[in-house]
Assembly symmetry: D2
Amino acid sequence: MEALRYSKAAYDKYLMYGDISTKAAHMLSLPKVSDFFTRLIQRVSPKSYQQAFGEVYVTQKFLENFCGDQVRFLARSFAVPGNHLGQQSHGFRWPYGPVAIITPFNFPLEIPVLQLMGALYMGNKPVLKVDSKVSIVMEQMLRLLHTCGLPVEDVDFINSDGKTMNKLLLEMILDHEVVLNLQANPRMTLFTGSSRVAEKLALDLKGRVKLEDAGFDWKILGPDVHQEDYTAWVCDQDAYACSGQKCSAQSLLFMHENWSKTSLLSKLKDLAERRKLTDLTIGPVLTVTTDSMLEHVNKLLEIPGSKLLFGGRPLEDHSIPSIYGAIKPTAVYVPLEEIMKDNNFELVTKEIFGPFQIITDYKNSQLSVVLDALERMHNHLTAAVVSNDPLFVQEVIGKTVNGTTYAGLRARTTGAPQNHWFGPAGDPRGAGIGTPEAIKLVWSCHREVIYDYGPVSKNWEIPPST
Amino acid sequence: MEALRYSKAAYDKYLMYGDISTKAAHMLSLPKVSDFFTRLIQRVSPKSYQQAFGEVYVTQKFLENFCGDQVRFLARSFAVPGNHLGQQSHGFRWPYGPVAIITPFNFPLEIPVLQLMGALYMGNKPVLKVDSKVSIVMEQMLRLLHTCGLPVEDVDFINSDGKTMNKLLLEMILDHEVVLNLQANPRMTLFTGSSRVAEKLALDLKGRVKLEDAGFDWKILGPDVHQEDYTAWVCDQDAYACSGQKCSAQSLLFMHENWSKTSLLSKLKDLAERRKLTDLTIGPVLTVTTDSMLEHVNKLLEIPGSKLLFGGRPLEDHSIPSIYGAIKPTAVYVPLEEIMKDNNFELVTKEIFGPFQIITDYKNSQLSVVLDALERMHNHLTAAVVSNDPLFVQEVIGKTVNGTTYAGLRARTTGAPQNHWFGPAGDPRGAGIGTPEAIKLVWSCHREVIYDYGPVSKNWEIPPST
Amino acid sequence: MEALRYSKAAYDKYLMYGDISTKAAHMLSLPKVSDFFTRLIQRVSPKSYQQAFGEVYVTQKFLENFCGDQVRFLARSFAVPGNHLGQQSHGFRWPYGPVAIITPFNFPLEIPVLQLMGALYMGNKPVLKVDSKVSIVMEQMLRLLHTCGLPVEDVDFINSDGKTMNKLLLEMILDHEVVLNLQANPRMTLFTGSSRVAEKLALDLKGRVKLEDAGFDWKILGPDVHQEDYTAWVCDQDAYACSGQKCSAQSLLFMHENWSKTSLLSKLKDLAERRKLTDLTIGPVLTVTTDSMLEHVNKLLEIPGSKLLFGGRPLEDHSIPSIYGAIKPTAVYVPLEEIMKDNNFELVTKEIFGPFQIITDYKNSQLSVVLDALERMHNHLTAAVVSNDPLFVQEVIGKTVNGTTYAGLRARTTGAPQNHWFGPAGDPRGAGIGTPEAIKLVWSCHREVIYDYGPVSKNWEIPPST
Amino acid sequence: MEALRYSKAAYDKYLMYGDISTKAAHMLSLPKVSDFFTRLIQRVSPKSYQQAFGEVYVTQKFLENFCGDQVRFLARSFAVPGNHLGQQSHGFRWPYGPVAIITPFNFPLEIPVLQLMGALYMGNKPVLKVDSKVSIVMEQMLRLLHTCGLPVEDVDFINSDGKTMNKLLLEMILDHEVVLNLQANPRMTLFTGSSRVAEKLALDLKGRVKLEDAGFDWKILGPDVHQEDYTAWVCDQDAYACSGQKCSAQSLLFMHENWSKTSLLSKLKDLAERRKLTDLTIGPVLTVTTDSMLEHVNKLLEIPGSKLLFGGRPLEDHSIPSIYGAIKPTAVYVPLEEIMKDNNFELVTKEIFGPFQIITDYKNSQLSVVLDALERMHNHLTAAVVSNDPLFVQEVIGKTVNGTTYAGLRARTTGAPQNHWFGPAGDPRGAGIGTPEAIKLVWSCHREVIYDYGPVSKNWEIPPST
């Protein structure tokens, strides 16, 4: 039964999107193409070559996952026998029809491609709005997709002019109104971006949204100490890669007292300090100014027992405009008991979308306090439990709800490869990205069709009314 | 890994809920218990013994579906190998935690039990509010569940006093505020009831809802005429059982011209007229008065070409209070071309939650007009395509989005047995009920846990920052 | 948990095989490569360019299905909560380890590539034996796969010399003994080929086999007549494409009496007679001589009421060696009542692996006789029910067990695209090919790992023995 | 589409078997019924009350799993869109039709009920043969099932007379011939019993079998020592419950040297010695005589370095006939290096279906030797890895293939609850029991039905032949 409603030749589209994915994946695998997109990303989104290339690579691998028949396999339905001969109940994942996609500045290629193709694979008709500062990347990618066979009428792409660039949030809402004008009634809107806009959109659209908003992501180092160098390196990457401008960046690190006795903190400091502007391993922050970030540090340092571990100063010798932020990778220590106080909690758990983290420690007996802190936080995007002790891991996982939680000695907070779900949990509006499960749950709804062909028994007679 | 977060002994709860379901299903299978609940339902919700018994029976069968290990099987997760030895990504369905359930008057047992148990099976902590007019049924059922082992602290049950009983919708919102006071922040609220309250709740709760709201449900009789008697009987039951007070009741019937030539309409009239108040095969309407319904009929009869097919008069010889409605099973014919006119469409497709339907017909060449009408409707709950012609069925199913669609010569609009999904489609807030799929999608969210235990390669060295 | 047992770097292999598939699919999509393989197939297996190209195309599409992460997705496991905290039961599909693959002459590329890659994807160590007459195709394909990254040590390829080419079946058994010598104990052997060898292997290997053996495939034309030209064309292709040398070729056609009244038979004759040797739309038969086939026709014509519909004569003007067969596309009519007689049934249902079919017809009242005939046949590979009447289709499907059954007005017996299971049913040894399901069921076994990490309750005490 | 082929009213049967399971589960939950079956089991199969009750309880819980709609949910199929509008490919699990079940003496209720109901749930027509010594249990259970609604014609039950009771294996083969006479051609036979008969049956039935044969099951205690008492108790139960007459009984224990330093062995000895004949915590062995077992012990003690740890003597003060075995719970230590020698390996790994185990130890550096030993064994039924070190567990699981493998500090070799697959792995003939997966894989085969209803394009023209 047809599960692609809004196109004249729905069935051919399953095969067509398999072909488009095959061709586009192959294009992105060509060094000159991937280098082009990597450098284009770098021009608009400040990150190292390797981080920008990572986006291109994940996008290529995502497309490889939906070659051949894999798009139609997403439309796999199920059926169970009914109550009598000839009756069978079929469960389909059905497209919404007209949908909207709104994506942010920090992943100009990966987020829009993965969500756009997901929407198309499931049979929807999407309108796409990418943050204006970076939308050139997706504009070029759409041309590539058109070359690979994407019909121009299958996607509407909205590209606002630069006038409102300084008022990011307002602009997105305005753009969103444009969206609404263009397509009178999107049945579902996927939004990735700030919590503030997310809540506004949820109201405007009466809840017909899926959201992947900001994260305040934590990591716990458990009682078993292994692999100090490795753990330090993962922490540094989690907190400071892309200058902390990933929604999965490590914002709060809980160290078990056994780790406090190691040289972990000094290793973290050394790693943070080798980052430099020239290769963009540290760079401009697009949504928070230097002054705001330093002011936040100073407020934290007023908390009794808190101290600056490293960073806390502006970057030097740069030409980054003052509307952006530019600070060295920074960590502030705050004692656990202070974090838990009502007048401090909100301050400590405020998300700073830049190269900044809080570090604290806990005693064996304080695990329940740590778990209380996690329960009080609003966002449940990513988390990490660094431990190879199954009972410790079990305890923390069982008491938390973060959407993407890494556990084990190699656990990290960042990392959203194409092979696993990435998204917040604990909220019916939470969206995922990339995997078959994410695509099906975000971009389609359940529809049940009960076939009931008969026969009617030959000696059937009209029964009494009920 | 633990997937029941909010209870001290989560694991035992999987088995405990299997046991509770086994025992409660057995209780409901005992004639004196099922008779008790059937009559109790009849006392508060006007329907025939057989219709009320149907609720009890579906509830029993639902509980049978989650005996033994079947509750833990709902928590089935999946895993795929990761990027290196020791890494594996697990996809779980995870509970929300604190949740709320608000259910309506017309199914006092079936809807609250199925949703409540679904919420519990997936590990949530629910607060339940049933429409005050009928909440005595669920109050008794909770006592039965407690006897079967349900811990009293697992469910909060809110039972408002009767003061506001005449102002149903307002009351539900007020009750809802009580809900919010009781449990500061339900992460998800399931609402079954009117569209108006649903939209209000979606705003109040910023979209953290799942809805099963009202339906304006259509049926199409295709070009192939079979089984006239059978089809007439199904139409009569779909439109008038429970006096039309099912959200899946047939509201609009499209007859292919081949059916117009048969005696179907006269058979429909005969069947409607054998319904009588004494056995409640026709009875009081709780949310629309007699005057409102007759006024609606009169407005429709002003449309050129329309005519009263049968009914259209008040019930006689009854003591139903005038705050309720009481009319004979009624059908009004309106020509298809008139239905499609802008000034008529809203009137014709207005939901009347009583024993009332619109009937129209269409020529072979007018199928696309019918499909346009279906697309213009707002609600997408149930539908029926009465035809054994695979190509006709395919055409209609492929162009529509109703959540529960029956197709084939035995197709109907009502009927939501425990073995198939029942809920609206085309809206990310749409809820389902009863099946394993519905329980998992409504009462849990996706969580991904990536185990990454290592080892780290022995010759691993710290790489450059990125 | 690792599900690839027999390799040093199992995890990397999931990703490696995704990469190999991506590259090999791209290679086969290049016109010069696909043309090379198409012509190579034609040199050893007599079929038209288009039929040979079909093999290459299906192989390419199959490889596209397992790009990127799709190989690791095949290793997807599931888990359910256990009886107490810390216990979880995981169901894996686990590789056998050393396995053997034996494939026939008629699909020199498609069958060995699909089964070989399936075996590798699931983590096995295969030894491959392709029929010696055609093994050059796979020898070239292995070189292509090596170029795409397949490690040479992952597959053993056995290529016997040409001495025993005239004694096909014996040769295969001998080769098989070589297989056993090479790899002392294959835990599973996949065999595609003749029934006789299949049964021998099942004994030699004590049932540790999966089989896709010969087929005697039937088609039923139902009571509803549609699309005469289309149906005739599908019948012609099903019976005579590849000169009938597909295991899914149509061997027996049951026409409802409503079809007998049409010009279907004369259309079949016209279509059969336009086939010609020059473009290999008819060509040599590799396993049955001309004399054997004509002798079979003559025996059939001795049955009362039977008649030659067309064909029944040798091909002319050719240089096909007499060890092969060469006859015109042939159809013999035998009355249904005669087919059912004990002394005729075996003769009529004897498989002739060449351009030959039986045609019969049946009255409305004789459907049960037809169904009895189907039940008496030994092989249950493919079948077709040409009807758009859901009740007729339901009746035939419900009473039969063929592995791949097409139903509907476009039904055919041949056609094994990469997106659906293809294999016999009704036998626990039956193998499938190509789809994710087939790969998982044929090339892996179930393994359950129950993690039970504890904790043990602190006040646990040793209980009495039981 | 109908997936129950061999019954007149297949569809009703799905619901009927849900009802039978509901009723039979309820019956077994009644104390007087479960006590009756527990004592009946004890009369024919020597085990403690608690072990016999365990069978009844697992059987009850199994039946609870298939109440209500859960039988029809086993018939859940899937579908994917085809290549053009109107085509859809459906994958079904289809019954074989006539099947046979042959079950052993040691679980007179659990094994036959779980396999019989599995066969019926999937739509087969089974003939059942239970070991004659214990078949009275199943004879009574069938009467219970008949009372619960099982139609007498749905199951054939073969009960051989007592003449051949002393020649168990031969008898089973003879019985099997009776089976073949009764039902000319079972398409699949499930056999649970000894390896010798299994191999004979595999030949007789040309591989159309699923087998769960004997096990030689190992346990490894890893380097991390936890919970000595708990571990000792689990080892004692694994080796000696039911006098070792479980196919999952612990036959070979590998202790890491860290465990050798503990008092584990003395605890094992104490636990073994508290077993006594009066409550059947030790009792008669039905298939091996006392002399055979003691002779085996003596042969083992000839190996250099081996020693008797405990037991090794006949039971005293009993009236067990000499055709059965009667020895005290026994353990023999053999050094690992000696086990690995070619002339010892077969002796040490010989299965003794009685209260007997081998114990050895290994150094940290010898793990690979242990893994080699596991690879050399023929049977791959159950295994246990007692460790909470994820890297150790991963290493052992990744290099082995046992069907049911427990891992973690609570790991055991016995225990086959109804919620997880239980069966051997590494063999395409391997059967599972009890879970939805086991039932589907053992008792049904894949069938693909491709619906292809059209339409055919209006401007379709006959293409050239290929």
